[in-house]
Amino acid sequence: MDNQKRNYNVFFNTHTVSGIVISIGLFVCFLAGGFALFLDEINYWQEGAKREVYTTDIDYDRVLSLVEEENYEMKGRSFFIGLREDIPDYIQVSSQALTMDSTKSKESVSSEDSLAHASIFLKINPDTYHIEAREFDRENKKLGTFLYHLHYFEQIPAVGIYLAGLVALFFSFALFTGIIVHWKKIVSNFFTFRLKSSIKNLWTDGHTALGVIGIPFQLMYAITGSFFGLIIILYLPFLVIVFDNDVNKLMEAFNPVYESDPNELYVDTGVTTNSLVSKAIGDFDPEGIERVSAQITDYGEPNAQLKVTTQLNDLKYFFGTTHTTYRMADGKLLNYKPVEENSYTEVATQTMAKLHFAQFGGYLIKAVYFLLALITCFVIVSGVMIWLTAREKKTYTHKAKFNRNVGAIYLGSCLGLYPAIALFFCLVKVFPMEIDHRFSIMSNIFFLFWLAFTIYAYFLKSPFKINKYALISASVLGFLVPVLNGLQSGLWLWKSWGMGYIDSFFIDVSWLAMSIITFWAAMVSKPVTKKPSMLKDKAIDQSFKEEPIKIRVNEPVLAANSLRK
């Protein structure tokens, strides 16, 4: 019996500590990540652009001759050619640097030679076949992409993604300990929601009930998130010990190369790359194709191979990829991987990516993901609130000030992210276009606003006020988003749908809805003046389901304050 008590207390403590340590980071992951699910939509909205129908006909031979005209050494290179979805779409050609002939001494290598052997990145216009850029543009100028980067802390130099990976790892630890702590009452607590009891009970019931609902979703994100963030720790041990330090051997696991017999006799019939690609995608319904890309290995050599990868629509297939490999000289089919047959490696990696990025089931799944992400945000904040409320007792009076400050900073930085994101949406529409470094100035404003709100929250102290100001500012800024978009691009809410600008319409309507719900939530939240039983407000009861993160993060401290009086 004593042992059971000990286990309960130990796991309770580790659940609390690990949860508190990762809380802000995890909140950012889920809120920014929730927005980043709609990365493409946000980017199209920002540019006021219409989504084009994906075109599968690229003139591959023309692209290759374009590269050759750039005076690159072509023989022996491996190429990737494919259409990239962007605004506007472009054809990407990329190739790694060729290893220079080692017999040449360093001095005899001319600069022209080394340029010809350098790595290639070309951005080609799919309509005019003009080369638009010769280098990969690392500077991001899109809001959706910015939020996507924010959700794994890419703005923190060098270590951001590993920090995110660690947060995800401790998230799974917190999940496991949470399940153990609540295991005995997991069923009965799930059906308990004591709105009329004390505020601490309310936070606890909300935390456990919504936590239990979210377990599958959260566990999936804990595992896939650690995979994306911490994959690096697998790389070195596996490379050195299992694959004998041979990078190619390791890479082959993920990108198998079909070996053809070099002694086999065949005639170079001069088939074109275009005809091979159209042969590869010929059997599929063109409307069901998501994207097509070509990989060429050992270009110009007798054994040059062309691997055509076709990605089919993800509403029909969960793993919708096929690979078709041809020998480029005579067009012989070397290998064909049908949609239904996937190697275990492909299944493992694709499942994790598809689950993490919600790339199946279209908008409905993304909407469900977004709601579950908000629920998770609520679970995180309510966990912090339980911790704070539990420390509003007499036994903690010597630490009361410290706890209040910590609570204010936690709430300020968590709740401040929502108005900060709304502000960024407004900024991309009003900030003058011609200013240099426009996007980095805007992102600095975003971070400063977020920081300022946290500092303001620190001075405000009262969770009720922090919550209320965050909600009101977010709702005002959120309401401005569709208005400013209409003023800037002319794509007003009532016009954009009819004109075919679906993404613009979707983002505007979402912000309008979010702004209204947020405003209403701000209005119904009241400070607790007398006793916790004041909470049995009907409006609060409903709003709890609608707005999981933002509602009433306010009462506990006030409730406790009033009790103290």
């Binding site: 130990v10 609390t16 650690s226 911490l230 041990p237 596996f238 299992v242 490696t345 299944v347 339980i386």
Partner: protein, 94 residues
């Protein structure tokens, strides 16, 4: 509500040792197991499984560290797992 202190480790050394065992000890044990599995079975399939199973087994071993009350016991278990699978890996590579 906060956990009863009498059940928790009260020495700083003990707590630090547990945290280190939970993070690094569990990582070593997990990695050695997966590498031995990759050596003795199909390396590519084993690697594909490790991509996610490492991130499940690692936190589970963390749980074990906290479940066992004495830090030195957890260290013994984790390091012997590492050692056993290390030897198995060595034998497999021979």
């Amino acid at each position: 509500m906060p956990a009863n202190k009498k059940y928790l480790l009260n020495t700083r050394l003990g707590r630090t040792s547990k945290i280190l065992a939970a993070i690094f000890g569990s990582l070593f044990a997990t990695m050695s197991f997966h590498i031995a599995a990759a050596i003795w079975t199909d390396p590519i399939n084993a690697l594909s499984t490790s991509l996610f199973s490492i991130f499940i087994i690692w936190p589970l071993l963390m749980l074990m560290v906290y479940w066992i009350s004495k830090p030195w016991k957890s260290w013994t278990i984790l390091l012997s797992i590492t050692l056993i699978f290390g030897i198995l890996t060595y034998l497999g590579k021979m």
